[in-house]
Symmetry: C2
Subunit: 336 residues, 2 copies
């Protein structure tokens, strides 16, 4: 172990190996993204750029190219699909932030607070349309079908979450159904479409879908844990958003179940009726930690990450596969 | 002329001949629409149904099937495309009503006032995704491309309108650009995709696109005139919406130009700053009528309707073509 690696206590798993392998592809994808978000209506590229260049990890398009490359793709058919996937994701974020009245996104002021909710809704629609144009150019009806279906599932998941947002009695099953639809489905479709574009056999297409679906679940569970401080209980500046919005995520649902009647009043007030004081978040974090809800959430995330890695077994063993395995570890070990 | 036709002073032109010819197709399209808006998330079909079964004329899907049938289609490939076109249109209406904070749609309370703006945004996204699923099933990448591009153009037009909504100095060119994008483009794409699905030669595909683009412009201009009482100056109960929202439509823009400096203050207050009293709409209607702005708007609509009919010249002369010609006349003669 050299000095550099001991100095930085790097968590197990990383997205860097994958980003490095896909570096050339990502440059091309970014070029496509920038070219296709242009419009003579100036507010469209301005608003799109605010979000697209806010330093997101490009995880979903990375899954599309990694899946295509791992399945043996040598051409660039996957790049337009990858850009389309990022556009679908961005459109979803724009609409989500309007729906949730969120104030921050990727550490920046949410677009609807700068350009207004109407522009955010319409620019989301614009990007969604551009995604389908790109998919048409990619030329695979099967890949198009996969991403169109995923888009429908995402909106269904969002509506389901909206109607059950502050439900203290949400079951773990319905919670998993919601995050599967609103997060994991696009991960799955991104990877599946990549494998389809590479002309992979059905067994490999299914393997890439299974990998990414489980990876998406692991990521979302870890995200939900991070909002209460995560494994390190190190509350970042954006922690507490879910609590303040009264979102029934797994750490909260488990804590509510485990703290029982004694704390029922606290949860009903802060989540059910969303009547909160500044001290409430600290108390919620304490209850969540004491009840072991964070560990349970992260254990479940780790289970999904393991399933993701196992799903890769039909794929060739090469540096792409290793990078995807690393990404699964990263999903549960990251701190932000 | 029989008693029935003299008793009702029927305006020149009608949508009835077309609806009659396409009756069987419309039944099938409605079946597809109802089947595809289902979801286990109950609010989705409830909200979609509120708008879809509110008695819209199904003009756009009618254009798709009429175009396909006129181009000789004997199979049902056009029906899924037609349903997709209605879904795109419905998604656009749901988002529009949120964007404009409209209170009424098709004579009913707007969906966002019943289910909330968040659900309207997300159900719009759901219907948009379902539209693309249907297009994939229809199996034509070219038709998909046409409708994906149209969807992008529509959102661009909506954003352009949003940024120029209360601009008293909007030029007639920019106004036509806006209604071309937000209304006529989907008419054009609906007809074009129908002809493509029928395997029509390029000349006929272009003819159907040109017909429907001009028809869409005629419809929108007549709509904008109807909002100030239209040709009959008969103010329906929904007239005045554009004025109250301060929308710079052609009747208004022409009146502003023609009434000159004398009324500048009135227009700046009522449209520019949207400070209105109940009497202002009556005064606006008077100014619009006196300035001949309504006649000019309807003359322009009639010009586009004529262009629409002329565009049909490469098509076979049969009952479908006659019905489409009648529809063009209906566009400018209707009273609601």
């Amino acid at each position: 172990m050299d000095a550099a690696s001991t100095a930085v206590a790097r968590p197990k798993g990383s997205v860097e190996v994958l980003s490095h392998l896909a570096a050339e592809d990502i440059v091309e994808i970014n070029n496509i993204i920038v070219a296709r978000m242009q419009s003579p209506v100036a507010v469209i590229p301005a608003l799109a750029d605010h979000l697209i260049n806010a330093g997101g990890k490009r995880l979903r398009p990375l899954l599309t190219v990694a899946s295509a490359r791992l399945a043996g793709a040598r051409d660039d058919a996957c790049l337009k699909l990858a850009a389309a996937v990022e556009f679908i994701h961005t459109a979803t974020l724009l609409h989500d932030d309007v729906v949730d009245s969120s104030e921050l996104r990727r550490g920046k002021v949410a677009a609807h607070l700068i350009w207004g909710a109407p522009s955010s809704v319409l620019v989301g629609d614009f990007l969604f349309a551009k995604a389908f144009e790109l998919m048409v150019e990619a030329g695979s009806l099967r890949a198009l079908d996969i991403l169109a279906r995923a888009s429908g599932v995402i909106s269904e998941g969002e509506v389901l979450q909206l109607t059950r947002a502050h439900d203290l009695n949400l079951s773990q099953d319905v919670y998993l159904q919601i995050i599967s639809a609103k997060t994991a489905e696009l991960f799955a479709a991104a990877a599946e479409a990549g494998a389809v574009s590479a002309g992979a056999p059905d067994e490999q297409i299914q393997a890439m879908r299974d990998y990414a679906l489980n990876l998406g679940l692991a990521f979302q569970l870890a995200d939900d844990a991070l909002d209460y401080g995560g494994a390190t209980a190190d509350l970042g500046k954006n922690a507490g958003d879910d609590f303040r919005e009264g979102k029934a995520t797994l750490p909260l649902l488990l804590a509510i179940e485990r703290t029982g009647a004694a704390e029922q009043g606290f949860w009903e007030r802060t989540i059910g009726r969303r009547e909160q004081t500044d001290a409430d978040f600290t108390r919620a974090c304490e209850l969540i930690r004491k009840s072991g809800a964070l560990e349970s959430t992260l254990d479940l995330a780790a289970d999904f990450a393991d399933k993701a890695k196992t799903a890769l077994s039909p794929m060739t063993s090469n540096s792409w596969r290793t990078a995807l395995e690393d990404l699964a570890d990263f999903a549960v070990s990251r701190r932000a």
